[in-house]
């Protein structure tokens, strides 16, 4: 069963990033930072890892003269995250069955 767990979503920060991007079309770097309470560097590292997996799409643009980067979950990312959640759910269910007398 454990082979369905996706290594890309192992940390809490990445679970958080994927979760909020599942319910929002796209979010900016700063919004993500505020929501998740992460430092710039920390967030950037996690985002890059998810982007390299092809789970996030990144759009860079300028608002006035300020760079504004927004992130969105790709279809592949949504699918992978859903699979991961299903695996977690199955794991928890199996665990709770075993612990019952």
């Amino acid at each position: 069963m454990l082979e369905h767990f996706n290594k890309a979503f192992e940390s809490k920060a990445r679970l958080g990033i994927m979760s909020v991007l599942m319910v929002n079309d796209a979010l900016s770097f700063n919004t993500l930072k505020e929501l998740l309470n992460l430092t710039d560097g920390n967030l950037a590292t996690h985002l890059r890892a998810l982007e390299e997996q092809g789970y996030l799409s990144v759009q860079k643009q300028f608002v006035g003269r300020k760079p504004n980067t927004t992130y969105a979950a790709t279809n592949e990312g949504r699918q992978a995250f859903t699979n991961h959640l299903n695996a977690l759910e199955a794991f928890i269910r199996a665990g709770s069955l075993q612990s019952q007398p």
Partner: protein, 210 residues
């Protein structure tokens, strides 16, 4: 601290994160109550000034040109004041609630909320102005209810789901009002006044008081 609880806490946190990131939850129940009171006062002023519910379809033809223009000016002014005071108080209570919860008032979700609210609302406003311009005064009363209801329905995606019910009620009331032309002001006062106060009170006890 039991370490086996940690995954569960993480899940709760993530669920909260998903809610907070997609919905603006600082909308205060007191905003609804204050908007309702302001609307009732506005309707009462209109009733006292016009002395009658003379905005109905049947009576419209009996008015002379001068009193009709005066009446339009008065209704427009009254409506505008009600709108501005209600919005100002609404923003005040919502800001207060957000500050108490330590959350930002002006963020991505509240922007989306305002945009989704404004599109039907501005459409309705222009529609009503056009009706005024054409001299069909009475239509504005049901129309404001209908467009406001649609605006709430549209905006409910970005805040508590309960707003949907208020929106639907306003639309239904507006549609009824299109046929009950003799009671325009009364139905309007009920929709914007009484319904707001009831909704605001329910929301206040459901979400705000903790």
């Amino acid at each position: 601290m039991d370490s086996s609880n940690q995954p569960l806490e993480t899940l709760t946190e993530i669920r909260d994160l998903m809610q907070r990131s997609s919905k603006f939850l600082s909308l205060s129940g007191l905003s609804g109550v204050s908007a309702g009171i302001v609307a009732l006062v506005g309707a009462l002023v209109a009733y006292l000034r016009l002395k009658t519910d003379a905005l109905s379809y049947e009576n419209a033809s009996q008015l002379s040109e001068l009193t009709r223009r005066e009446m339009m000016k008065f209704v427009l002014l009254d409506g505008t004041i009600v709108l501005i005071v209600a919005i100002t108080l609404g923003i005040f209570f919502t800001r207060r609630k957000a500050q108490k919860a330590g959350q930002a008032v002006w963020n991505d979700t509240s922007k989306r909320l305002v945009v989704s609210l404004m599109i039907p609302l501005v459409t309705g406003g222009i529609f009503c102005l056009a009706m005024f311009y054409r001299g069909i005064l009475w239509v504005s009363f049901p129309a404001t209810l209908i467009f406001y209801g649609l605006a709430l329905l549209n905006a409910s995606k970005y805040t508590v789901r309960d707003l949907e019910y208020l929106g639907l009620l306003e639309v239904v009331l507006g549609l009824i009002s299109l046929f009950l032309t003799g009671y325009n002001l009364l139905v309007w006062a009920f929709g914007f006044g009484v319904l707001h106060i009831i909704y605001g009170t329910v929301m206040y006890f459901k979400y705000d008081r903790k």
